[in-house]
Symmetry: C2
Subunit: 144 residues, 2 copies
Amino acid sequence: MLTPYLGNYRWKDLPVKEYKTDGTGFKDITRQVLFDDPDLTCQLRYFEVQPGGHSSLERHEHVHAVLILRGRGRCLVGTRVIEIDTFDLVSVPAFQWHQFQPVGEEPLGFLCLVNCDRDRPQLPTEADLEQLRQIEKVAEFIKV
Amino acid sequence: MLTPYLGNYRWKDLPVKEYKTDGTGFKDITRQVLFDDPDLTCQLRYFEVQPGGHSSLERHEHVHAVLILRGRGRCLVGTRVIEIDTFDLVSVPAFQWHQFQPVGEEPLGFLCLVNCDRDRPQLPTEADLEQLRQIEKVAEFIKV
């Protein structure tokens, strides 16, 4: 019933899934699943992006509800680039391109709430990227 | 898409529902709904209990997934009284009696994740209370 917090944004017996730079578009990011209860219809995950890293640029039908737990950064939602800081809330609506990046020396850590029943993320095609890059501030922001 | 954090555990344009001591068993507790998106099957709420206050002693079929965001305290889950501190995670299974209380000078603030489709809480009858009070540490803990 209790999962103690161990400090440094780690929890007892919750595996930290480490990602590394690879072909799927994320860099220096870890994931811990905080709640995955069969009696809940949502999952709550904690993601952490190291300075210089980024989450994948993606979109999907399912929505994200995000609470920044650590650090600060910027995120793309649709065609907007938004400054985010600790305890800010971000809603990512269906089919909006999104990406999270830290700013400064501290990692960017955030809770991300999703429905258990959800579709797989889509990565941008070259045509999608071309369209996104037509907006200057988006072009400057996105990392793929 | 962005709901900025204002400091002091308040968010822009999110109403703070104030509870006061009344007949339904809670004391000095506020609630803010952080995410209530029609495309999400869960709700994420932030509760805050002032020193000396407590959440209601209740049970229900739906489960709670709780992340302590502020302060420390103790909670009852079933017949266990558990010490809780910032960023600890607590799962409240179906039909387990539960109550949250702060310890110390700071309020106890916690995120509470629930399914949108859920049953109404049940408050303890006198017979329930009598049974709970047969366990000494539970008897010492619960406030009604």
